[in-house]
Symmetry: C2
Subunit: 280 residues, 2 copies
Amino acid sequence: MPRTSKRKIIIVKNIGFCSGVERAVKIAEENSTKYGKVFTIDSLLHNETEIQRLKEKGVEVATENSVGNTIIIPAHGSTEEEVKKFKKSFKNIIDATCPLVLRSAELIKMMKKEGYKIAIVGDKGHRETMVLQDTAGENLLGVFSKEEDVKNIKFSNKIAVIAQTTVTEEMLFKINNELLKKGHEVRFFNTICNETIKRQTESIEVAIKVDCMLVVGGKTSANSKRLFEVVKKANKNTYFIDNEYGVDNIDFSSCNSVGITSGTSTPIWLIGKIIKSVEK
Amino acid sequence: MPRTSKRKIIIVKNIGFCSGVERAVKIAEENSTKYGKVFTIDSLLHNETEIQRLKEKGVEVATENSVGNTIIIPAHGSTEEEVKKFKKSFKNIIDATCPLVLRSAELIKMMKKEGYKIAIVGDKGHRETMVLQDTAGENLLGVFSKEEDVKNIKFSNKIAVIAQTTVTEEMLFKINNELLKKGHEVRFFNTICNETIKRQTESIEVAIKVDCMLVVGGKTSANSKRLFEVVKKANKNTYFIDNEYGVDNIDFSSCNSVGITSGTSTPIWLIGKIIKSVEK
């Protein structure tokens, strides 16, 4: 007997990997096919389920003692020190850094040359931010995650503001407003990834229409967590899950319509599994 | 019989002319002594009482038909077109533009060369803003007096923000926050005059201590009107007067202490007259 009241599922239009992550995964897969096994400097992207799948295909996170033919720089980039370290034990270093992160690093180098202090708006300890921090070197003014972080910063004549690609514009603009008080000239570069912004906007559009909302993303994924925050504001019945098993703990009894979105490091095949779980 | 309950008067520490206005007045007086009579392009500063005093000393605002030896560019500056026009009927053009305004104009020229669109935060129609607007020429993005003014502006890759020297930081920061949404790179120059900011801060410090507060300034003076706004927030018994006669209309019966401050185009001799009126 067919079910008469099947749950309506609405998928956010642009879902799955962003172009930067897609590129990094493609580079890793191609090289593992070629060399049998490749290593990556830290996690290639912030999604445990995808990292597991890649591991089965021969893509592995390098440790201190790893030695091999090829090592890949992950989507969030790497510091010069890391590259130097791994150069000793690997023949090829392949760069899969997201082009937007590379661009932020280039902007920092340019601003350093022009004598600016570098203010990075981002999550402390996040790989991308650490890479930018490393690029800023002695010119670093600080890493700022909230307005209060700016309070005790000294006044500088010239400040350049660069953001981690996955922060919200709200966060960036608020912190920038505090930085304005700390410099005579403040040079602001909006380095937030457009795909991240678009994903947020499209997800909110779906969230306000549905009974419940699922945000799929890795536990260590900055953009997924941020997406969850903004979607939750639009629909209080929003749940963060990192794989298809997360669905089991959710009570869907009053959810006739379910919206699904994901962070930009979530593979599309995982979304497929989640849809099946929700339809069950 | 001496009065026993004399009114306490507290004068804000840095009162009277700012250095830019003081310089302009000095230049005008020296030249009028030398040449008997000098003209100025528009009002030398925004204080009618002082303009009147200068007129008696031979400093007069030029009209379309004025002809003479010397004409002075006022503290707020002049457009190239004005200079060109008056060059025909005057031998000497003496520049008494405030150095901070000249600096803003220099920044605009530099930013134009580097391909930035120029956003001016200031009062529409104010001489200083008009001069900056003129300097920006075809690169002008707009003149912004409030956040809403930014709404319909097109997205530009590179925007440079320059402020009229006498706006409040609150106004500047709010408008800048909206401009951040309109450009990939926003280059912000805090061109607000420090003396203006200091005057505001010191006036607020006095205002919160006294029963009543007097803000002395010309009716067309942007910095005086702004000073009145911020002081009024700190003490609701704040009055704006442009000369000593303004005191006559104020009921001081419940004001045991009176604070006095002034815009940066108010001469110190006028403050003296006002103190006498309040003491009466």
